[in-house]
């Protein structure tokens, strides 16, 4: 990595010496221009989202969508958080935010830990039928949402969990397990079996080995799985809509807020709501980003 960087620097320096400053060359300019264009394309909606969220309503009514707010105000965001009426309840999005937290946190923790445990058991303890089990699990990755909705609904209602947090959490965990298991299985394949043997001789059992040896090794992959699962579960709308019951999460509340058909459309409140709903996943990327990148790049564990 560092050697490659040094190489690249040396090459770049050589090019500068021969042909002037590297980034002024046409090919380099074109590349930078393309990157800037792509960044603008993706950031433009975010710009409109943020500026509108912090504008007062009278500025929005003028229709100058691209202008930054003349007078910045948080009234839209605050109203979206604590005051706006959603489906007859006027407490803003905050209660639904906490619903989302109550669903996402246990669902993420369970799906990631169980996926890690699965991956560990599949690679380091050759259990009979492991191949068949893994094959079925992989097939699970390709099941579309629509296909599992009805069977899931029937199962949950038989279990008496339809329309409850617990039910929704179970749905997310079950639906997340194929991908988390796949991630951890592939990661643990790269961990030398001799480490497992050494730990067994040292007296670590199935769970001791998992907790003390394998999980610490898998920290980068844990970050990847947490980011992936948190994003998916927090942003989920369909499962929440179908199985969420009355205490639905933030995404459903946001939809109800924005699709309200009567009265004046308060765009600053709507945009504020969107911002608040998107914020947690953004934060997860910001805080786990370093580990996320390391996890994506992680192959084997070498000493």
């Amino acid at each position: 990595m560092t050697a490659a960087n040094a190489d690249a620097r040396a090459t770049a320096a050589a090019m500068r010496g021969a042909r002037g400053v590297a980034w002024l060359r046409p090919a380099e300019l074109a590349r930078v221009a393309l990157l800037v264009l792509c960044a603008l394309y993706f950031l433009f909606p975010v710009y409109v989202l943020v500026t509108t969220a912090f504008k007062p309503m009278h500025e929005i009514r003028l229709g100058n969508m691209l202008l930054p707010p003349a007078a910045w105000t948080t009234e839209g965001v605050v109203k979206a958080w604590s005051d706006v009426c959603i489906g007859g309840r006027c407490g803003g999005l905050s209660p639904y935010f906490w619903n989302s937290v109550r669903i996402a946190v246990p669902a993420v923790v369970l799906s990631v830990l169980l996926g890690a445990l699965n991956g560990y058991a599949l690679t380091k303890w050759r259990l009979p039928g492991a191949h068949l089990f893994f094959g079925l699990l992989i097939a699970g990755n390709f099941l579309p949402y629509q296909m599992v909705l009805l069977p899931m609904a029937i199962t949950l209602s038989r279990l008496g969990l339809f329309g409850s947090y617990e039910g929704l959490i179970i749905v997310h965990v079950v639906y997340g397990l194929p991908i988390t298991t796949l991630l951890f299985r592939n990661f643990f394949l790269g961990v030398p079996d001799e480490i497992v043997k050494a730990a067994r001789i040292d007296g670590a059992g199935f769970f001791g080995l998992f907790i003390h040896v394998m999980l610490p090794i898998a920290v980068p992959m844990l970050a990847v799985a947490v980011v992936l699962q948190f994003t998916g579960i927090w942003n989920d709308f369909l499962f929440a809509l179908v199985f969420g019951g009355r205490d639905f999460p933030m995404t459903v509340a946001l939809n109800n807020l924005i699709n309200t058909q009567f009265g004046d459309k308060e765009y600053n409140v709507n945009m504020g709501g969107v911002l608040l709903t998107a914020l947690p996943t953004l934060m997860v990327y910001v805080f786990a980003g370093k580990w996320f990148m390391r996890g994506l790049a992680a192959g084997a564990v070498k000493g």
Binding site: P192, E194, K197, R200, I201, D202, I217, K302, G303
Partner: protein
């Protein structure tokens, strides 16, 4: 301290037999090397002793106690692996004490063991480092330290030096041998390197295709190989093997190789075959050398290739269809194409059945 008794152990992977009816005794305090090419079952046998590889049949006893059905942790063994197998997220200190912590040993006991081990292996200054911050030699030292912490009945080594460079390998080899001399604990050591086996072992078991081909002292294995396979596997340069047939003369048995009569008057036959049977004559390169007082056969041969190693010079010689590798004193000047006077000390000869490959 304890010996190991391996009693008719069988292990198969699917239809492949990894261990075929292995019977082996490791004496208390011995340094037993399991030697063989890759895939011969030596690592599987070590794994079976450790309890990491379940076996299909047979019993394994350590210090008289039947451990066949015990978990690795309950067998009172410690193991050092080829890849060191250190826990990458733990410091050296945590690595070494992991076993005792898992067994919930008292703190002062752990601290005392750590201090003793670190001093013995001179790794005190490395205790707070992670494995990734250590060199290969240091890692292997830590791995040995982790094994020492247990104060086990038996140490198991699975090719511990294969990942080290040549110089370090020689150093660690001496260090492990010194460790064995100091501790006197039974050690079982797996390697495919015959030099390691010869230098370290008090006993060697040569394995092939899941079976033990020969067990004996390094001297036994080298001087009196029990089969063509052992003869070819141990020793570098390899033993000269000449096809011929056995004949009886008034002066004793003779092997006829491509027109050369090689007399073997004092050969200690294990099982004397009839005259006329095809045999293989085995001669170590060091018995093919300058003519001296011990030479019982003198030949005028052609020099084909000269390879000086410093301490001695390896020379490939030819006489008609017969080629021999000899070991000469560096002062003996030989050049390719020139004639060479060769003396052969037949006291060190081996005879094998050409069909079965067994020693005669």
């Amino acid at each position: 301290m304890a010996g190991i008794a391996i009693d008719r152990v069988v292990k198969t992977y699917g239809s492949v037999a990894a261990l075929r009816d292995i019977a082996l005794e490791v004496a208390d305090g011995a340094f037993m090397v399991l030697l063989g090419p890759s895939g011969c079952g030596k690592s599987t046998l070590l794994g079976a002793i450790a309890g990491l590889e379940p076996i299909d049949q047979g019993r394994i006893r350590i210090g008289g106690r039947d451990v066949t059905d015990l978990e690795p942790k309950d067998r009172d063994i410690a193991m050092v692996f080829q890849s060191y197998a250190l826990y990458p997220t733990m410091t050296v200190r945590q690595n070494i004490t992991f076993g005792m912590r898992m067994r919930r040993a008292p703190r002062n006991e752990i601290a005392a063991g750590l201090e003793r081990t670190a001093r013995l292996l001179q790794i005190e200054q490395l205790l707070d480092r992670k494995p990734s911050q250590l060199s290969g030699g240091q890692r292997q030292r830590v791995a040995i330290g982790r094994a020492l912490m247990r104060d086990p009945k038996v140490f198991l080594f699975d090719e511990p030096l294969s990942n080290l460079d040549a110089k370090l390998r020689t150093e660690m080899r001496s260090e492990i041998k010194l460790l064995h001399q100091r501790l006197g604990t039974t050690m079982v050591y797996v390697t495919h390197d015959q030099i390691e086996a010869m230098t370290m072992a008090t006993a060697i078991a040569v394995m092939r295709d899941g079976a033990v081909e020969q067990v004996g002292s390094p001297d036994d294995i080298y001087a009196r190989p029990a089969s063509l396979f052992v003869a070819g596997f141990v020793g570098s340069p390899a033993m000269n093997l000449l096809p011929g047939e056995l004949a009886d003369t008034p002066d004793g048995p003779v092997v006829r190789c491509e027109g050369i009569d090689v007399p073997l008057p004092g050969y200690a036959f294990r099982d004397r075959p009839q005259a006329g049977r095809p045999v293989m004559l085995g001669l170590r390169p060091e018995v093919v050398t300058e003519p001296g007082p011990r030479a019982q056969l003198r030949l005028a041969m052609d020099t084909v290739l000269v390879e000086p190693t410093g301490a001695d010079t390896i020379v490939r010689l030819a006489l008609g269809p017969v080629t021999l590798t000899g070991r000469f004193h560096p002062a003996t000047r030989l050049s390719p194409g020139s004639a060479a006077e060769v003396g052969i000390d037949l006291a060190g000869a081996s005879l094998f059945c050409a069909h079965a490959g067994t020693r005669l």
